[in-house]
């Protein structure tokens, strides 16, 4: 068997760009300082490096560097944003609006806030994966303090209409928080331009290192205040205590600088490869469905359902070589299929049959050609094994069959 390995799971995490690794290396041994040590050269070098990284990231987002708070990752940033705002603004109101397709870092934080007195509205999304703007506006009440909607979805790549959502938030005077983990560094993300006031993102989804993330917190129009969730030395302007991960931050900054320069060419190249993959699979195989809108999505992502083939089983036909993700229940411990795809209105059967392909900066055309071949073979193999594919081919309407639910 061909032993090449093909990584098409860049929404899970991206490889760290070698240029990023190179930038980080001097900050382990040669420059070991703590950025909070104000009284010696080691500290000064570290602080300067952190400030530089903050500028690199601010420049990518077109915001002020003072508006960037470093954290350990997007999960922490989501927690800090939601809990920090709720703590700070709860006297003004306790209502938060989010959507059913958000990442668990947002949904589970909202569930926790509900136990602490918050009222949370979880909006439905359309078949295309988009939030209905009229429904969003109708959900805003006098006690609403914040709308939290992700920029781009991790499973489908669907991009919400950020500008329109920002305008609705502006009109009603509520804060707009966004988990932009999947979008930053891959498409232009300018929170100020669209009216996002608080925004979570992370290094390792944009070719930076793992273990370092950030929260954008608007300092003017409006000046957003957050209650710190981590108490200690008062780092990051009091919003997030804890010694800064200097090498990680340096790498994160470098990743932002590279993204700013190369994002457009990466996006053009990857969307062409993604389209090639999608078109080839949809033309060589029957009953392949695209999940989420084609019109507003990330350039490097496609989420496809291969009807009557179970996702994990399909992955087993090629997972010695190709890394992808599935919304199949079997890939999760809960035995429930992807809640994101279910929220799009896919039947559980199609959710079980889904595969997410997420390409990245290091994906080559050869990788895609190989993946097309392997997927086509895998789907055909699994359909030869599938009793429901056989029934479908015999013209049996599967919805009329009495299944033994278990």
């Amino acid at each position: 068997m061909n032993k090449r390995l093909i990584y098409l799971d860049n929404n899970a995490t991206t490889p760290t760009d070698p240029r990023v690794v190179e930038a980080m290396l001097p900050f382990f041994y040669e420059n070991p300082g703590n950025a909070a040590s104000r009284n010696h050269p080691f500290g000064w070098v570290a602080e300067e490096a952190v400030d530089y990284a903050r500028e690199q990231i601010a420049s990518l987002l077109e915001v002020d560097s003072k508006e960037i708070i470093f954290t350990s990752g997007a999960t922490e940033s989501d927690n800090l944003a939601l809990k920090g705002v709720f703590d700070m603004y709860r006297r003004k109101g306790n209502h938060i609006i989010t959507a059913k397709t958000e990442h668990k870092a947002v949904l589970d934080t909202c569930h926790k806030l509900e136990t602490m007195g918050a009222e949370v509205t979880y909006l439905d999304v359309s078949r295309e994966g988009l939030v209905d703007l009229a429904e969003l506006e109708a959900a805003i009440k006098p006690n609403t303090i914040m709308v939290s909607l992700m920029w781009a979805n991790n499973e489908t790549g669907v991009i919400q209409d950020m500008k329109a959502i920002g305008q609705i938030c502006e009109k009603h005077g509520v804060l707009f928080m966004s988990d932009a983990t999947q979008a930053v560094g891959k498409i232009p993300v300018h929170p100020r331009e669209v009216g996002v006031h608080i925004m979570a993102f992370t290094g390792h989804k944009m070719y930076g290192p793992k273990g370092v993330g950030a929260l954008y917190v608007s300092r003017k129009q409006p000046r957003v205040k957050l209650t710190a969730q981590m108490d200690g030395g008062g780092h990051e302007r009091g919003m997030r205590s804890g010694t800064l991960n200097v090498p990680g931050i340096v790498g994160f900054g470098k990743a932002a600088e590279i993204a700013k320069k190369e994002m457009q060419q990466d996006a053009e190249r990857l969307s062409r490869l993604r389209d090639k993959l999608e078109l080839a699979l949809m033309s060589s195989l029957e009953e392949v469905y695209l999940n989420g809108t084609r019109d507003s999505r990330m350039p490097h992502v496609t989420n496809l359902s291969f009807k009557h083939v179970e996702g994990e089983g399909l992955m087993m036909t090629f997972n010695q070589n190709i890394a992808v993700s599935s919304g199949s229940a079997c890939t999760s411990a809960s035995l429930e299929p992807s809640y994101v795809l279910v929220a799009l209105g896919l039947g559980d059967d199609l959710a079980h049959s889904s595969i997410r392909f997420s390409l990245g900066r290091f994906t080559t055309e050869d990788d895609i050609d190989y993946a097309i071949q392997a997927l086509t073979q895998g789907v055909n193999h699994m359909r030869d094994l599938s009793p429901i594919w056989e029934m479908y081919k015999e013209g049996i309407d599967l919805s009329t069959v009495t299944w033994s639910e278990h």
Partner: protein, 137 residues
């Protein structure tokens, strides 16, 4: 999750994939699971009525690798067994043989249900006293 070698072997080279003629009286068909649950097994047996012995077994499965391996193994075990012997196959035997982890035990349960459903179908078709429980779980 890493799969055991035996699961991988059955997955790559599944035994007895196929379809028996379900209109024949000597063939019993069990269809268990549901597409919404992510696994459906169809297991069929062909019985020699004179000796009450399973002479052939085939399966098709929609599901994960462990579900496919469980049904493949079940068909291997069924061939040559009497109906009574076949009814003694327990899902835990499959778990043990394939070294299934706890999250995959339901795959073995489904295989046991499929065996019982196929035998039951054969018995009902032929007016034989039904000794296979409809579903043990």
């Amino acid at each position: 999750m890493a799969y055991s070698d035996k699961v991988l072997d059955h997955f790559k080279n599944p035994k007895n994939v196929g379809t028996l003629d379900k209109s024949k009286n000597t063939v019993g068909t069990g269809l268990v699971g549901a597409p919404e649950c992510g696994d459906v097994m169809r297991l069929q047996i062909e019985v020699d009525p004179s000796s009450n012995t399973i002479v052939d077994a085939k399966f098709k499965t929609f599901g994960c690798g462990s579900a496919i391996a469980s049904s493949s193994l079940a068909t291997e075990w069924l061939k040559g067994k009497s109906i009574d012997q076949a009814l003694t196959i327990d899902n835990m035997d499959i778990v043990e043989e394939l070294a299934l982890p706890p999250v995959k035990i339901h795959c073995s349960v489904l295989a046991e249900d499929a065996i019982k459903a196929a035998i039951r179908d054969y018995q009902v078709k032929n007016g034989i006293e039904v000794t296979a429980e409809a579903s043990s779980h």
